[in-house]
Every structure is written in C-alpha cells, then in structure tokens.
Amino acid sequence: MPIYEQTYKPWEGVLEPRPRTWRVIARTGIQLLMRKGMMVFLLFAYFPFFFRAVQIYVIARFGDKLEIVQKFKGLKIDANFYSDFLNGQMFFVVLIFVFAGAGMIANDKRFKALSLYFSKPVGFWDYVAGKFLVLGFFVSLITLVPGLLLFLMRVVLAKDSVYIQDYFWIPFSLFAYTVVELLLFGSVILVLSATSKGTRSAAVFFFTLIMFPDLIRIILSKIPAVGLISMTANIKQMGSVFFGIDRPYGFTPIWAFLVMAAVIALCVLLLKQRVKPTEVVR
C-alpha cells in the first residue's frame, strides 16, 4: 500500500501569460446565480415568449382567415411586434437586475472580497466587465435569445423570402436594444451595489430610480422633455430608433442618447471611485 505524505508539492504547470480574468469572473457569477434559483425565474420570464410564439404560429399558419386573428386586426409580425416584445420584457429585466445585480458588488464588499480579487491579476475593468457579463448573460436570455427565436420562427414559417428581405435587420435591432438596456440598467445597479450598505438597499434604490421618474413622467405627460428623466422611457425611445417605428415619446432620441451616455459615464466614474480593494477611512 503506498504511503502518501501530506506535504506541499509544487505545481508543474504553466500560468496563462495574460489570464482573461473577466471571463472567469463572469462564468463563476453565472454558475452562482444559477444555483440560487435563477432558472425558475427564467421560466416565468419566458411566458410572454410562448404567447408570442403561438401568435406567430397562428398568423403564419392560418393568415387572417381565422376568427381569432380577425379579432386582433392589425396584429402583424413586423418591427413593432419585436419592439413591443422587448418593451414587455423590461419588467423581467428590471427584476433580473434587482435579483442578480443588487448584491453583485455589495456582497463582495461585505465579505471584503475585493482585496482578494485585486491581489490577483485582476484589474478594475476585468472585474467590472466580468460582473457586466453576468448581467448581460441573463438579460440576453430573456430579451435577445427569445427575440431571435421569434424572428427565426417567423422566417421558418414564412412561405416565401419576402419576410426576411423586409426584416433582415431585426436581429441587429434586438441586439442593439439589449445592449442599451444592459449598459444603462447594468451600470446603475452596479453603482448602487457598490455604494449601498447592502443588497436590500441597492434593490430599493434601483426600484425607486425606475419607478419614481416614470411616475413623474406620467403626471407631467404634457411636458415631453420630462420623459428624459425616466430610464425606461429613454430606452424605449432609443428602441424606436433601432426598430424604425413611431417614437413613443415627444423628446428627440438624440437627447435620450445623450442622457443615457451621461448616466453611464457618471456610473463608470462612481464605480472607479467605489470599487477599490481597500477602504481608506480618513
């Protein structure tokens, strides 16, 4: 029987010269959230997809001959269809940011994990990119992926190539919408997570930042520019540009773009200040 000595043995492998640490952070973050029951949540977020998939099937299969289709006169599988789908998914997207994003940096700070991360070859951008990718993965799973599946389904069920010729750009629009949503909501929730004292307060702040400006926008709906204070309105306005549809709000999309860019830039600055391995108390 061999005798094993409990002693240190040097590792004989070779370290990757420039490890892609953001990828490791993202993969581990995704696995952690999957174990926390994210799968069940994703199933709920797919209900609208199933509903719309049935719509596509019924319309593609029976055209407007069916009585139920005639009832929804004007329902077309056009750019508005995809835009509406993404706008509807925004509710689940917000919940994902609350559920997955609020604790993302707050927990690392609570357990003083930042000094562990930054004592490895992990830089600020690696860390933030890793966290963003985790959010991006889950957001894409309920926006981009089902959106693309709906598009593919419509293309497959089409009798000719007219549909794909008319709407070949839809996948790009779905992608752009998802990226804008991720960058804006993602940077805000990560800043809140990095600045708040805990997960709960970050989640409450995020909800407030989503709901309160939206409420003001509704109350002061006669003043179109007020819509610029609402994150959801800005995203939907930009989405209308991506999908080439009528603008839902009175302000120009350029302003929406500038407001979002300013918010994201501010969030990055705040993240730079708050994501530090050591808290210096003066």
């Binding site: 409990q6 240190y8 040097p10 952690l32 926390k36 994990a113 004592s119 070859p121 210096v280």
Partner: protein, 303 residues
Amino acid sequence: MSVSLHKFTIAYGDVKAVKELTVQFPEGITGLLGVNGAGKSSLIKGLLGLVAIHSGEAKILGRNVHQEQKAIRQLVGYMPEDDCLIPGLSGIKMVQYAGELCGMPRQDAIQRAHEILFLTGLEEARYRKVEGYSAGMKQRIKLAQAIIHDPKLLFLDEPTSGMDPKGRQEMLDLIMNVTRKGNMSVILASHILMDVERTCDRVIMIHQGELLEEGNMEEFRGNYANAYSVRIEGDKDKFVKALEAGGCEVKPDGSHLLDVILPKGKGSDLVLKTAGKTGVQLRRLMPSVQTLEDVFVKRIGDK
C-alpha cells in the same frame, strides 16, 4: 532579492503610513515586525497595488511595481489580514476560482484545489460554503487561495490572527512546510513575536512607517548576547553606577536583580571585579537569553 524598496512611501492623505523605506527582502522567510499601526499591512498592500504608492521605487522578483503590477500579482500570493472571502462559494470552488484568476487552466485549478485543501486540513469542509467557516478555517482557506498557483513569493499578513494555540502551531508548521518544499520566499507580517521568531530567517522591524532594525535572527540574538542576569546583596546604587561607568547598560529588575548588558569585547569578569570594588555580594551571575521580544521591546523603547 525577492523585494527591494527604495524610498518607498505610502500615504493616506496627509498621513504617511510608510515613510521613505529603503530596505531589501532576501529570499527565504522574512519577518516584517512592528506594533499595530507600524505600517506592515500598508507596505504589503502598496507592493501589491491595493493602495496607491505615494512615491519611491520598488521591485518584486525583479519587476517594477509601477509598470508590471498584473505580472507581479500573478507571481505572488497574498493572504490578507481581514476575513476576506468570496461569498456564495464552497471552499473548493473558492480556491479553484483563485487559481483560475491567476491564470491556471481550469482542470489544473480543480485538481490542485483539492490537493491544497487536503494540505491545509480543510478536506472535510471543502464542499461547505466559506461563509460558515470558523475563524481558524478562514485563515486556512486564505492561505490555500494564496498558494494554489505555486507563487514564487508569498505575502502573509498576520497569518495566525484569531487562531487558538494549536491552530497557530499548525499554521506556522504549514507555512514552513510550504516554504521549504515549494522553494517559495515569504514575507510574514506580524506583531506576534513568537511566530516570527519560530519561522523566520531574517527580521525587518518597522515602527511608525520607518525602518527600525533589520538583520538575521542569529545576528539579532548575537547583538544582545552579552547580557547577564545579576542578583546582588549590598549597595545596589553604588554597584549600578560603577557598572555604568565601566560602559555597561544596566536595568534594575526588582530590588536585588539587575539586567546587565556588557560592552562589546568585555566578559563577565567585569561584573565580578566591579562587585569586588564596590563591596557587593554576587548571589547570581548568569547569561540571559535574549528573545526577539527583548530586542523588539528595547528598540521600540529606545525609539
């Protein structure tokens, strides 16, 4: 040299935690000794880029800390003082994660994480979440995550803090085992002198961010080896004055006891002669063993 510093300064606003420190850490185990707030942790954090460097130069394993921060962090291991954990992960996953962050291939990191947790005595608890670990287990997992990638240099910041005597002993044994077998240099920051005395080949003492003293453990003891514990009967003051006139350093220790440090090159016969001259009876004259603690307390006192 594993680390060399030149006028290395760390400042938090106006407060300088490390002041123009110029010192070299050779290979082997070096103890970084100082009281709480001396600047030990700040120095390590500065070298790893965890706090901003105010001024000065530093090289770790021949690499410049200003220019090659990430490359340095890949080659070194760091065991922080605080209870730093990655929440939500099991012990095995946390150590594997640390390895992958350092650039280890995934399969190697998994396999090595098991080996390292076995070595650190956490094999039974490896599938438990790290948040539920005891203080001693947290210290062990911190060491495990620091050594998984087989670093060339290991920074240990108060590695035995919060551990019971048995756990401390085991941790120090582990550190020595890792260093010996892994051909690894270690910088061990501690204020627990016994730990440093037990494990280190060399000591660097800092106080209020400045270098106090440095040398090999043997040199340290050697510098103070000419010390005697003396017990007398008679006129103590007269005897003390006579010894001091002869160049001795005398510290009364109770009513009849004295700690006497003889000047270099002099033997214990100086004490005998002085006793004879002053008419004092010598009841005891024995060499006193100087511990690191004696040296440390003396140097801090001098400061």
